[in-house]
């Protein structure tokens, strides 16, 4: 009974051991007053590279070029995000969910993916979208109110944003079951938040993925807050520990450390590809801004916390490393600044130029194969619209 099915496979490396290690180390944590459990960190907030026997292998070969690439991704993502926030203030968007502070978690995990992998995001994965090559202006349609997600999920293997909390973890699991059925060695990654960890759907996705040994990585960005609720309202133990009771490993990574996020995600993806099933990654990070532009965090949290986290800023940290290791010079940063401004401009212009949808779009795509009532209502709507045209024409 209840044999670990993953154990029946031949893991390339002892992922199981890793789970065990992590687990063993952590379980004692649930039982004593701990401040913060350990997390995988490869870059300190000061930008120093620290050794990690388990995960170094995943980033050892990284080139200065790639490092600068990660930096560039984070900077441009933040720039894009800031522009979107500004556009919301200007009334061009109805709402914006900023990723400020979560750039490393998103770029690190996003850059760990292969093209054939598939991403199931929440509504905040602008950085991951960036890594997938989704045109950032495409992300804005739903926040402007012109559509509910305008891109083709299969264009970049990046699913639509999912607003209802947790639902996408099951879609990711099902997709991963399909990948396994197809005999492909692609992997799937499902993003969700600390708040989402409480949803029944997320637990069910853990169960299904474990039972079917589906090649899926659950990437939880614990940004400490679910709107106004701190993570303690969702769990009294660290979230990465949730996985173990479902039969797969969980690991906590410094979510503000892009290298660590890259490494840990690569490890988890490798497990998926090797038939070792699901992994939970908890990226320990911080939502530096408001939940969305509608939110007022001053009602529920003080400044000290944000200030403490600003010292751990993901971008600053990599910059320090790049500078200290001479992997980037002033020219690089200056050029990036220019590129960044250009991106901001492009996004601004694209949003302003975004046309309102045609009224008849209401009736489009409700069904793939049509529906008599939709046809009837569309016709009535057309007649009704035409009656105004007539009335106006009459003048």
């Amino acid at each position: 009974m209840t044999v670990d099915s993953s154990a029946a496979r031949k893991p390339r490396r002892s992922a199981a051991g890793k789970a065990g290690t992590t687990g063993t180390k952590r379980t004692t944590r649930t039982t004593r007053k701990s401040t913060e459990p350990e997390l995988v960190q490869l870059l300190t907030p000061e930008g120093e590279r620290v050794k990690n026997a388990e995960y170094d292998g995943y980033v050892d070969g990284i080139t200065p070029d790639e490092l600068r690439g990660l930096y560039r991704d984070m900077v441009l993502t933040r720039r894009f995000d800031a522009e979107a926030t500004a556009l919301q203030r200007q009334g061009e968007l109805g709402l914006w969910a900023s990723l400020l502070g979560q750039e490393a978690a998103q770029i690190g995990s996003g850059r760990a993916l292969r093209d054939d992998d598939y991403v199931f995001p929440t509504y905040r994965e602008h950085g991951v979208a960036w890594c997938r090559g989704v045109d950032p202006t495409n992300l804005l349609g739903m926040f402007r109110g012109v559509n509910n997600g305008g891109w083709d999920p299969n264009g970049n293997n990046f699913h639509l944003y999912t607003i209802v909390i947790g639902s996408q973890t099951l879609h990711a699991t099902g997709y991963a079951m399909g990948v396994a059925k197809d005999g492909a060695d692609s992997a799937v990654i499902a993003y969700f938040g600390d708040g989402a960890s409480s949803q029944g759907d997320v637990a069910e996705s853990f169960t299904f993925s474990a039972v079917y040994n589906a090649p899926v990585v659950f990437f939880c960005q614990n940004n400490q807050w679910a709107i106004s609720e701190p993570t303690e309202k969702q769990s009294r133990v660290p979230l990465y520990q949730r996985a173990q009771g479902f039969g797969f490993p969980g690991v906590r990574v410094d979510g503000n450390d892009v290298l660590a996020c890259l490494a840990v995600t690569k490890w988890a993806l490798e497990r998926a590809r090797n038939g070792e099933g699901p992994t939970l990654v908890e990226a320990y990070t911080y939502r530096m801004g408001a939940h969305t532009t509608s939110d007022d965090p001053s009602r529920y949290r003080g400044d000290e916390e944000r200030l403490a986290w600003e010292a751990k800023d993901p971008i600053l940290r990599l910059r320090r490393f790049l500078e200290a290791s001479n992997h980037a010079d002033e020219g690089f940063f200056a050029e990036l600044e220019t590129e960044s401004e250009a991106l901001g401009r492009r996004v601004r212009e694209a949003v302003r130029a975004m046309p309102d949808p045609d009224h008849f779009a209401i009736f489009e795509n409700v069904y793939a194969d049509g529906h008599a009532l939709v046809d009837e209502e569309r016709a009535q709507f057309a007649a009704y619209q035409a009656s105004f045209a007539d009335a106006e024409g009459g003048h």
Binding site: D152, T169, L170, G174, G200
Partner: protein, 325 residues
């Protein structure tokens, strides 16, 4: 070459055919494998198509539908079984918010060819939650199609069509008719999935029903005929879309309409049919559209279901009332 078989068997044969002809079709649900489902509708399928085509799932309906959505996104065509009507609600969120809206949300970029099979309705003496008729709760939701066959041939063909549809289809199986036999011709050319069928012609009044109530209405019509009343019986077959054209055509002839379903009358299908047909046939109707269905009460324990469910006398009573106008 037509063959006589029970309605449950017709669905089984239809699933078998789909599994044979399209290797993207998968059947999934609780106990659908070795057991063949609690009603044996998937009997033998796992044996013949293997565990990766006919999948026993964990006991979690939201998980079943949610992963089916993911499989559909990967190009599969899942046919999901919900074990009983009363157990579909844990999956309701995934159905109405994800499954129903994904095609529209993606502006048509992704399709959701998912069939959700739900044995529904009462009359089998079951315990709580095993006799409900929740079709209203799906028909109101845009993006879903809702159908219910009343006989073996429709069960077979409507399942074929549901699986072929690129839209999510909630396929309500009239569980108390599972054992009723009928001719099934796998070489026939079926009519459209969402079209109603006149199953008995008549001139004095139209009885409209679907699923388990069609047989009852035929019995009512037979009984009424003995009293010299000519009732037309319409098998609606589809609850969303509803084939109002066929109802209208019938009512323009008979001028009277009684709608029968097991679901509670309040906010039931009969309400939508009455409202729309009254609008379409305002000058034709000699009587208000009458409705016969369940009461505004939880489905009662088995020993009360006969009183709760529409039966011959209650429908005849409504017929008499409609004819009395």
């Amino acid at each position: 070459m037509a063959e006589k078989m029970a309605l449950a068997k017709a669905i089984n044969e239809s699933l078998r055919r789909a599994l044979e002809t399209d290797d993207k079709v998968v059947v999934m649900g609780e106990d659908v494998g070795k057991l063949g489902g609690v009603f044996r509708v998937t009997d033998g399928l796992q044996k013949d198509f293997g565990e990766s085509r006919v999948i026993d799932t964990p006991l979690a309906e939201s998980g079943i539908v949610g992963t089916a959505i993911g499989l559909a996104l990967r190009g599969y065509r899942p046919v999901v079984e919900i074990q009983f009507d009363g157990f579909v609600f844990p999956a309701y969120d995934q159905i109405v918010t994800q499954l129903a809206k994904m095609h529209a949300r993606s502006l048509g970029k992704v399709k959701m060819p998912v069939v959700i099979r739900i044995p529904y309705g009462g009359g089998i003496g079951a315990v709580e939650h095993h006799s409900e008729s929740p079709e209203t709760l799906f028909a109101h939701v845009a993006g879903l199609k809702v159908v219910s066959p009343s006989n073996a041939s429709d069960a077979y063909w409507m399942m074929q069509q549901a699986i072929q549809s690129d839209d999510p289809v909630i396929y309500f199986e009239p569980k108390r008719r599972y054992w009723d036999k009928g001719e099934v011709d796998p070489e026939a050319i079926p009519g459209p999935l969402h079209k109603a069928q006149v199953v008995r012609e008549g001139t004095d009044l139209t009885l409209a029903a679907y699923g388990p109530m069609v047989k009852l209405c035929q019995e009512v019509a037979a009984a009424a005929a003995e009293e010299g009343k000519s009732l037309e019986v319409l098998d609606l077959r589809s609850v969303s879309p509803l084939d109002f054209d066929s109802v209208q055509a019938s009512v323009e002839k008979t001028r009277r309409l009684v709608v029968v379903h097991e679901a509670p009358v309040f906010f039931g299908s009969g309400a939508e049919i009455a409202a729309r047909i009254t609008e379409r046939c305002f000058y034709h109707l000699e009587a208000p559209v009458l409705r016969v269905g369940g009461y505004h009460a939880p489905y009662p324990p088995a020993r009360l279901e006969e009183e709760y469910l529409p039966g011959l006398d209650r429908v005849l009573d409504a017929v008499d009332r409609a004819l009395a106008y």
